[in-house]
Subunit: 337 residues, 2 copies
DNA sequence: CAATCATGCTACATCGATTGAGCACGGTTG
DNA sequence: CAACCGTGCTCAATCGATGTAGCATGATTG
């Protein structure tokens, strides 16, 4: 009766988990019947209501749960969607992770996220591992080298999507960095007209920073305010780098500061705290954080539309759009006071 | 030659991934040899250097990566460690997630985290799913019902560990909430002696809140300061609840505020911003956040020792300690200014 | 020279779930 | 009564990797 020489069911060998063969023996049915009942295909497979109930009862009693490794191996469909993410240490990435999981679950997919510390090697290893787990689709968020991951996925026949940072070899969903930055710069310029702002943080080689600088310039151009080269301090994202850059800067600080990320903002505020007399500034930051929003000088933040971006990502999953596709999602300007 | 009637290797059927059988055909070797070479057991299995190199070259060329479903199924060992986490939206949980992943990888385990939105049903479903993926060990962080998860794991023969919030049915690693709260209360009392503080946030039924209240009381007792019942406003964690509780409170605000979480702090600061004239307060908060630390009134925060806690968790993995074990890890008091 | 041993490799059963093929049985139909 | 159909179920192959058992071959020993 399909016992296959395994230890007697019920012997409760702590090392071995209950399988459909154990349930089959207990319910006096075949493993096929058990499988069909437990995965919901039993009506189609013409199993009687009576047997189905018996099997379900036994499964319940034994606290059975499928071995998904076996199931996935056989079905050749994992329903796993993977995401690679640089860090979990800010609200933006945290929100992406939460939303991604919720959205995946809502359509019956199993989300797996892993964080790669902005380390290109770890990023690649993580991608390889996800592919080994047979993910249906791999989403690379803020990857340092998205194209390498896209190519690797392509070779394995796995769909890849870039989020936040675009790439050329897979479809990308990104914020409208240009528009968001222009709006934020306008907000600051409204409050201190005629004087150019200071842009601080990020790397000019980075796509997102480049787009934000473009938006920053556009806002000044819209208002006919000439922008000296010294108004752009793309000194890296790290808080310490921002502090050092401000320390090294010559001349008076302009009233309006455009800060390129919340992590940069940490350095900016720490530096400002040390000045006496305090510099009268108004700060706008790209990205949103609830506590940063409560800082007295902080007059506005750009919140990225995480829900909207993930909606686009999930629209793409399973639909193999062309690699060059780039979807830009508008950002949300939050004014304080 | 072991082709098993599969489609010709090299036919590049996009739908089918390369397997060891394909590699075996290409390298003119057996699937066993390929497997042994790729998983590193080839020396023990007396495969020649020459064949090993040939196989590795072919594998490289084909961009092969193992099917871990098949591998795990056969080995009956997944090397997956699972973690269930309520949210990703604050620094504490973010740090736990990052550290957990780094620590797991460091010892060759594959970390899988899933966030369950403090929803008991989702928590349980997530645990079931992790067990279906054959995790070696499941860590429940801040679970609403840790014992239910522990029992379920026990039935499946999977090790369970509680983190942050203790349970009775599995070993638990938690912060020393009592000690941390007492130290933070002392810090506030040093600065405004003789007057009792106000405790705000959390639920008294919650283990961590109860311990922190105990520490809060102890600090007052240490200094012989009598504590009225009204000094404890355990109104829930949410920011809105804190705002409402402060609004409803009668009498002048004491100088020292003991805030039970960063999310509660958000509400407290928003309420304070609305008062005029501004209330002269000094705030200490349990949990740490870099921007909250920059708020002008914030004189101290308790940082939980995430690295230390995870060190303890990983010490327990694979060592099946008694279910009642509770490990308390000291917290770190951060004074500002 | 026969017996023994080391070396280098392969055949095949196995992990647990899934699923196409097909068996047995009772009821209809022409 | 034979041919046919529907119902309820089981058999056995399969997914890809692993590892035990074992087969050749050539070298070494008594």
């Amino acid at each position: 009766m399909g016992e296959k020489g395994k230890p007697e069911p019920g012997s409760r060998n702590a090392a071995r988990r209950t399988t459909i063969y154990d349930l089959a023996a207990l319910a006096e049915a075949s493993a096929s019947a058990v499988s069909a009942v437990l995965n919901g295909t039993w009506k189609k497979r013409r199993i009687s209501e009576r047997l189905a109930e018996r099997i379900l009862r036994v499964a319940e009693e034994q606290g059975y749960s499928v071995n998904l490794q076996a199931s996935v191996l056989r079905r050749e469909k994992s329903n796993i969607v993977g995401m690679i993410m640089p860090k979990y240490d800010n609200r933006y990435f945290g929100a992406i992770a939460e939303r991604f999981e919720a959205r995946a679950r809502a359509q019956g997919l199993f989300p797996v996220i892993t964080c790669t510390q902005r380390d290109p090697e770890l990023e690649f290893e993580a991608a390889r591992e996800m592919i080994s787990y047979q993910v249906e689709c791999l989403i690379a968020t803020g990857a340092t080298d998205p194209d390498r991951i896209s190519d690797f996925c392509a070779a394995a026949g796995v769909q890849a999507i870039n989020l936040d940072l675009p790439g050329g070899r897979a479809p990308s969903v990104v914020s409208d960095n240009f528009g968001g930055a222009r709006d934020l710069a306008h907000l600051l310029l409204e409050r201190a007209p005629h004087e150019p702002l200071l842009f601080i943080g990020g790397r000019p080689s980075d796509h997102n920073t480049a787009e934000r600088i473009r938006g920053f310039r556009a806002a000044h151009a819209d208002r006919g305010i000439p922008l000296p080269e010294s108004a752009i301090l793309a000194c890296g994202y790290a808080a310490e780098k921002a502090e050092a850059a401000l320390e090294a800067r010559a001349g008076a600080l302009p009233r309006g500061l455009f800060v390129n990320s919340t992590i940069t903002l940490e350095g900016v505020v720490r530096w400002l705290r040390r000045q006496s007399p305090p510099a009268p500034v108004e700060i706008g930051t790209f990205d949103w954080d609830p506590f940063a929003a409560l800082l007295p000088d902080c007059v506005g933040m750009v919140e990225q539309d995480v829900a909207g971006m993930l909606e686009e990502v999930f629209r793409l999953i399973g639909h193999a759009p062309e690699a060059g596709l780039r979807i830009e999602v508008p950002t949300i300007l939050r004014r304080h006071l």
